[in-house]
């Protein structure tokens, strides 16, 4: 174990980009590891369910090219967590293909570990039957049919499989769905650094310069792990870490900033301190890792719930705006009346921007003072044809609906586009978001290949 272990985090999400100057400055600091988090559930269930990346391929390749070129040339391990955005096998393969392209173009050769994070439906159903599955807060109970309907089912892996790949001599590790801090923490934990500090540092580095001030999702950050602390450093002269920026980031996207749960345990920050040590650097102490009695992993899965079509329109009529809720309710009723055996009112949504389009049922203001409204008509049906039909009928009905007090009789909606209706394709929802006790079974093994 050396005195310090330096980790370069180029960007908040692989494919978000970073300035070349910051990356160069990071490389001048001679990092021991270049690691990046490549995913999130934040963009919603579609990307996991459909097996698609939410980042742009060209820019993922651009970011990875810098990392691989410098990492392989200087013999610095490169670790990517949650490859392809959602980290299922299809996403992992997408990212692997990009790596292979870069390796060929740049004439790089290295040993690569690829770690699938998929969990088979049989494994999950067996665990369900044995009572080893528990829902996270606010999540419905898991059922066998939900498991069956799930298209991609992954677990957030911890540092262990990454350590296994690094121990096998991999210069490059691509992990499927991964606990965000794990890709940063695996190597230092393997080398004997404190797990709590390594994971907490990873928790901050996974968002790179978002935790600096001014924050940026497209800039690099450096973490320096020591025996009893870690130091955060920005790599652009435009930004710095402050105690407040680092501490504030600890709150981000978490329900309890003192206890950050992950695979096998939680980071406890009750005794954590942040100290400004000058030159835009912050030193963090006191973060502890507390293992849970059983090693639990978080499962994530999404299933298809149908197909969507939308139409975007506006209204500038004060009479219509004044009774918009009633008009939309009447339009729904009218559509139901046209095909009473085929009630689709539950499949039709009106997003009314200028009123409550952003907050929906959480919107506290009952009335609108907008002089114009945007209405997004959304049809969500079992098939694309049905969604197209419902969207079209809702659009034409609303366009010519004779509401009470109407004096503008030529049409109720202004459409910015022709065609007015857009097919949105398959729609997914999160079907699995549960903890599983793997009962000691080792589910995630690196596949090692020579490139």
């Amino acid at each position: 174990m050396t005195d310090e272990f330096r980790v370069l985090s180029p960007t908040a999400i692989l494919g978000y980009g970073f300035p070349e100057s910051s990356f160069r400055k990071g490389m001048e600091r001679k990092p021991h590891l270049i690691a990046v988090d490549a995913g999130s559930t934040d963009p919603g269930p579609y990307y996991l369910g459909a097996g698609k990346a939410f980042t742009n391929r060209a820019f993922v390749k651009r970011d990875l090219r810098y990392m691989l070129r410098e990492g392989v040339k200087n013999n610095i391990p490169v670790v990517v967590g949650t490859a392809g955005g959602s980290g299922a096998s299809v996403h992992l393969e997408w990212c692997r293909q990009i790596v292979l392209e870069i390796a060929a173009e740049e004439k790089l050769s290295f040993k690569m570990g690829v770690i699938p994070a998929d969990v088979s439906k049989e494994t999950v159903k067996k665990a369900l039957g044995e009572g080893r599955i528990t829902p996270l807060a606010c999540v419905p109970e898991l059922t066998e049919s939900l498991v069956d309907e799930t298209t991609y089912l992954v677990a957030q892996i911890g540092p262990e499989p990454i350590i296994e790949a690094l121990k096998a001599g991999c210069n490059v590790v691509l992990a499927g769905r991964c606990y965000d801090p794990a890709c940063f923490a695996a190597l230092p934990i393997m080398l004997g650094y404190d797990e709590g500090l390594a994971l907490h540092m990873g928790k901050i580095l996974e968002c790179a310069a978002i935790a600096a001030t001014p924050g940026s999702g497209a800039d690099c950050a450096l973490g320096i792990l020591k025996k009893d602390s870690f130091i955060l450093e920005a790599l652009s002269p435009k930004r710095k870490f402050t105690c407040e920026s680092a501490a504030a980031h600890t709150l981000y996207e978490k329900s309890d900033p003192y206890h950050l749960p992950g695979p096998g345990g939680a980071i406890n920050l009750e005794n954590c301190s942040f100290t400004d040590i000058g030159d835009g650097r912050v030193e963090v102490r006191g973060s502890r890792f507390e293992p849970t009695p059983r090693y639990l992993i978080k499962l994530e899965g999404a299933r298809s719930i149908g197909y969507r079509s939308i139409s975007i329109a506006g209204t500038r009529d004060p009479i219509m705006i004044g009774s918009i809720d009633q008009i939309l309710a009447e339009v729904k009723a009218h559509i139901k009346e046209m095909s009473p055996e085929d009630d689709r009112s539950e499949q039709l949504f009106f997003h009314v921007y200028g009123k409550n389009g952003v907050m929906g049922q959480l919107e506290p203001l009952a009335t609108t003072s907008s002089h114009e409204l945007c209405i997004v008509i959304e049809a969500l049906c079992p098939s694309q044809d049905e969604a197209d039909t419902l969207c079209s009928v809702a659009r034409s009905t609303l366009l010519h609906y004779g509401y009470a007090g109407r004096i503008s009789t030529a049409g109720n909606l202004a459409f910015p586009f022709s065609p007015s209706d857009i097919k949105m394709g398959n729609v997914y929802e999160f079907s699995v978001y549960h903890l599983m006790d793997p009962a000691g079974e080792e589910l995630f093994k690196p596949i090692i290949e020579d490139i």
């Binding site: 807060a137 407040e244 329900s255 309890d256 952003v358 907050m359 978001y433």
Partner: protein, 103 residues
């Protein structure tokens, strides 16, 4: 005379904490404002429930986090992120009612 929270806070934000929870952060300008709000328990489950017209039981927790001079409130998402009827996948624009808090 009541003062607006905008005098005391420098960050007021909302975000998903996973797809099933929505979390609010209020980061105060300094330790004094943090202590003032904390000692008077100004941010509490009843207030959050009132601002968002939800049941108090859907307010999952309030945590005062001194290292960041911040208070965090977490609620059950009315819909899971991306579920039918969704309006804000990331949950990043649900903070406005908090701007009405006074002290």
């Amino acid at each position: 005379m009541k003062r607006s929270i905008l005098e005391a806070a420098k960050v007021i934000r909302s975000k998903n904490a996973g797809p099933f929870e929505l979390t609010f952060d209020i980061i105060f300008k300094d330790r004094e404002y943090f202590e003032l709000f904390k000692s008077q328990n100004i941010v509490n489950p009843e207030l959050i429930a009132k601002l968002y017209k939800i049941d108090v039981s859907d307010v999952l927790g309030i945590v005062w986090f001194a290292p960041a001079n911040a208070v965090k409130a977490t609620i059950k998402r009315p819909l899971a992120s991306g579920a039918p009827g969704e309006t804000d996948i990331y949950g990043a624009q649900q903070h406005a009612p908090l701007l009405e808090i006074e002290f």
